[in-house]
């Protein structure tokens, strides 16, 4: 029999049971180096072999904002809650793309990394965490763009109210990430066996985006549409984000509490599902 002289982390037992949530999380602490290397890889490989390099981080939101501006502001004449169109769309797009990219990457995590995961073991949760950090890095670069555009608008177009709520923005970003990772881990676990879910992701993301307040404000909705938009847990996040930035938007406290509970619940369930799946998903995928 194996003696128990060594510290318990040195003795591993491999059987059909999944690792516990606690083991899975404590395992992560000894893999910080790998985490940073993954973040670096994600960040660098994004713009390798492009002429414009990191400028692409700015170009993506600029292009999308321009399209939305002409399509929804000029042509469809949708309300922007009294904000200049550019600020309304840019703020919505910046936070939404952080959410959607993190969700897409996390949900595809097991399928896309099946080759590595099938050959070597390291805590799989390192990968979504590295996606979180590289997403955060990209978001902070894009927040500079948002800040620059806001300053230009403030001085040259129309000033907006700047309030102390501005300092709540980090919490909003964290809440976005929690919700995104939670949903992503759930979808990643389910789509291992039933690939249909992966194929539905495109429509799912579109549906999520159009049923939240990226291109129209909550104040412009009514009736059944209002109910649907309120049910989307991203709504209060985006509304709060605009509120904290420009003091524009509808923040309902009950709605915010719903979003917070939803996000943490989804993360917890997502983690549990993921841990149950990752132990032997390479046999199924």
């Amino acid at each position: 029999m194996i003696s128990k002289v060594l510290p318990s982390e040195q003795v591993k037992i491999i059987d059909k049971n999944a690792r516990s949530l606690k083991t899975s999380l404590t395992e992560l602490t000894s893999h910080q180096d790998l985490l940073w290397l993954f973040v670096k890889r994600d960040f660098i490989s994004f713009y390798k072999q492009t002429i414009l390099g990191p400028i692409w981080f700015f170009l993506q939101p600029i292009f999308t904002t321009t399209i939305y501006f002409f399509l929804f502001y000029n042509l469809a004449k949708l309300s922007t809650d009294g904000l200049p169109g550019v600020l309304f769309y840019l703020s919505g797009i910046t936070l939404w793309s952080f959410f959607s990219e993190l969700l897409l990457k996390t949900s595809g995590l097991l399928r896309e990394n099946a080759a590595i995961f099938g050959k070597v073991y390291f805590p799989r949760l390192i990968v979504p965490i590295s996606h979180f950090f590289s997403g955060l890095l990209k978001l902070s670069v894009q927040l500079f763009l948002l800040a620059a555009v806001s300053i230009i608008v403030y001085f040259f177009v129309s000033p907006f109210n700047f309030t102390a709520a501005f300092f709540l923005i980090p919490f909003i970003i964290l809440l976005t990430a929690i919700q995104s990772c939670g949903l992503g881990l759930m979808i990643a676990s389910l789509s291992v066996k039933y690939r249909d879910i992966a194929l539905l992701m495109g429509f799912f993301m579109q549906g999520l985006m159009y049923s939240t307040t990226v291109i129209y404000p909550l104040s412009s909705t009514s009736g059944i549409l209002n109910k649907i938009v309120l049910l989307n847990p991203m709504t209060s996040i985006i509304e709060s984000f605009r509120f904290c930035l420009f003091n524009k938007g509808t923040v309902i406290y009950a709605e915010l509490i719903y979003t917070i509970i939803f996000s943490f619940l989804v993360l917890y369930v997502g983690l549990l599902m993921f841990i149950r799946t990752e132990k032997d998903f390479v046999d199924t995928i």
Binding site: M1, I13, D33, V120, Y121, K279
Partner: protein, 431 residues
């Protein structure tokens, strides 16, 4: 001796066939059975894994069945077995990539597994960046990699290309760099799957040397899977022979290799008929049907004296006209290594066969040293190299040290080599 790996009755079952709507139904049934405390239906329905038999479309096979073994600290364990015997599954379980369906493995110490060379290399990143990334994926800390960086670069021999993206590397360079990283891993237990099958001969020698060093000098435990019996023999002191997911033999390497080769021996009758199922692969256009081995007096024989002439007759049945093919008769030693090849025409040119039955006769003299040997037969297309028929390890025979020829005796008590070349030699007194 302390045990560092203890496998206790591990089994692994897989479901074959496609996942589809009906598999949801099975999932629910299985879940209910487990909830009610019954045995997992996946385990109870499992069949023996035999890839040649055609069972139902959606059948469940067991890839490992009640496999138990222990590995002591500092041992090198070789794992051998035919394709599909469960070797890779076992390695996956040991490296924590997947879990067993039942049973457990207890592992003491840090494990590094090398099931593939270059896992996690990112094509866009430079060699330098990939050394760090790959090292970290395999479980090294950045500090450790920094300390060993020069050694790794030196071992790989790709110093000039360190800052080039690895997608521009030749496949040889890629493999060199990847193995160099893996070889400098610091772990208590190293798991290696046939990675040595890549790279040129010189690099393979370097890898084997490195692995030998790792095992002997640093007291590290090594688990090594290979089809190359010579490599297993050189590297491993203990071995495990897996057959159809079960342990068929375990213990000292030489005895395990012997039982592996013995198992693979094709059963033959007195007439030398080659059973149809002994073909390892082939297209069926032609088949070796008989191999007879006899001496000068046409007596069928299995034991020859040293230097005695050996005659073989091979019957080849050609089912349709085949053009431009090569026929090779190999002699293999008791480690399964090919030691020489005879062909029907000595200049190795391809030949054509009409439909029919052919007989090929060979005679060879004093070319083999005393030992155990067997034949391998192959017929393949010249242009594509695709095998038409391929038989391994057929018709064992031995050469003893006794000689019927008074002029040729084998005087040494031990065996020196396997092959006795016909060299012209001369001895002169010069002073």
């Amino acid at each position: 001796m302390s045990i560092v790996v203890e496998a206790n009755k591990i089994s692994k079952v897989y479901r074959l066939g496609q996942f589809s709507g009906s598999s949801i139904g099975f999932d629910i049934k299985r879940w209910m059975a487990i909830k009610q405390g019954k045995q997992d239906p996946l385990l109870s329905q499992a069949q023996e894994n035999d890839r040649t038999s055609s069972a139902g479309k959606d059948s469940i096979v067991s890839s490992l069945k009640d496999v138990s073994f222990n590995i002591n600290k500092g041992d090198s364990l070789g794992i051998i077995g035919r394709n599909g015997a469960g070797k890779s599954t076992l390695l996956k379980i040991l490296s924590q990539v997947t879990t067993p369906s039942s049973g457990s493995v207890t592992i003491k110490g840090k494990v590094a597994s090398l099931l593939e060379v270059g896992t996690g290399f990112h094509p866009e990143l430079s060699g330098r960046e990939n050394i760090f990334l790959n090292g970290a994926i395999l479980g090294m800390k950045v500090k450790e990699i920094k300390n060993k960086f020069d050694e790794i670069v030196d071992f790989s021999g790709v110093e000039r290309y360190l800052d080039t993206p690895v997608k521009r590397y030749s496949s040889g360079m890629y493999v060199r760099l990847a193995f160099a990283v893996a070889a400098h891993l610091e772990s208590d237990i190293l798991i290696v799957d046939e990675v040595l099958a890549v790279g040129d001969a010189e690099f393979q020698r370097k890898c084997m040397g490195k692995m030998n060093d790792l095992g002997s000098s640093s007291g590290r435990t090594i688990i090594f899977v290979s089809h190359n019996m010579a490599a297993i023999n050189q590297l491993c002191n203990k071995s495990l022979f897996l057959n159809k997911g079960m342990v068929a033999a375990s213990g000292d390497t030489s005895s395990v290799i012997a039982s592996y080769l013995n198992y693979n021996k094709v059963v033959e009758n007195f007439e030398g008929d080659i059973p149809e199922n002994s073909s390892l692969h082939g297209t069926g256009e032609a088949r070796f049907t008989k191999l007879r081995i006899f001496n000068l007096n046409k007596e069928p024989k299995k034991k020859f004296g040293f230097g005695e002439n050996i005659f073989i007759d091979i019957e080849l049945t050609v089912n349709k006209k085949i053009e431009q093919v090569l026929v090779g008769i190999h002699i293999v030693n008791n480690l399964g290594e090919k030691i020489c090849m005879l062909t029907i025409n000595s200049n190795y040119t391809p030949i054509d066969f009409e439909k029919g039955v052919y007989n090929m006769s060979f005679q060879f003299g004093d070319i083999l040293m005393p030992g155990e040997y067997a034949f391998g037969l192959s017929i393949s297309h010249f242009s594509s190299g695709a095998d038409i028929d391929y038989i391994e390890n057929f018709s064992q025979f031995s050469i003893s040290r006794d000689s019927s020829n008074k002029d040729l005796i084998y005087p040494w008590p031990t065996i020196h080599g396997i092959y006795k070349p016909n060299a012209i030699s001369e001895l002169k007194k010069i002073v």
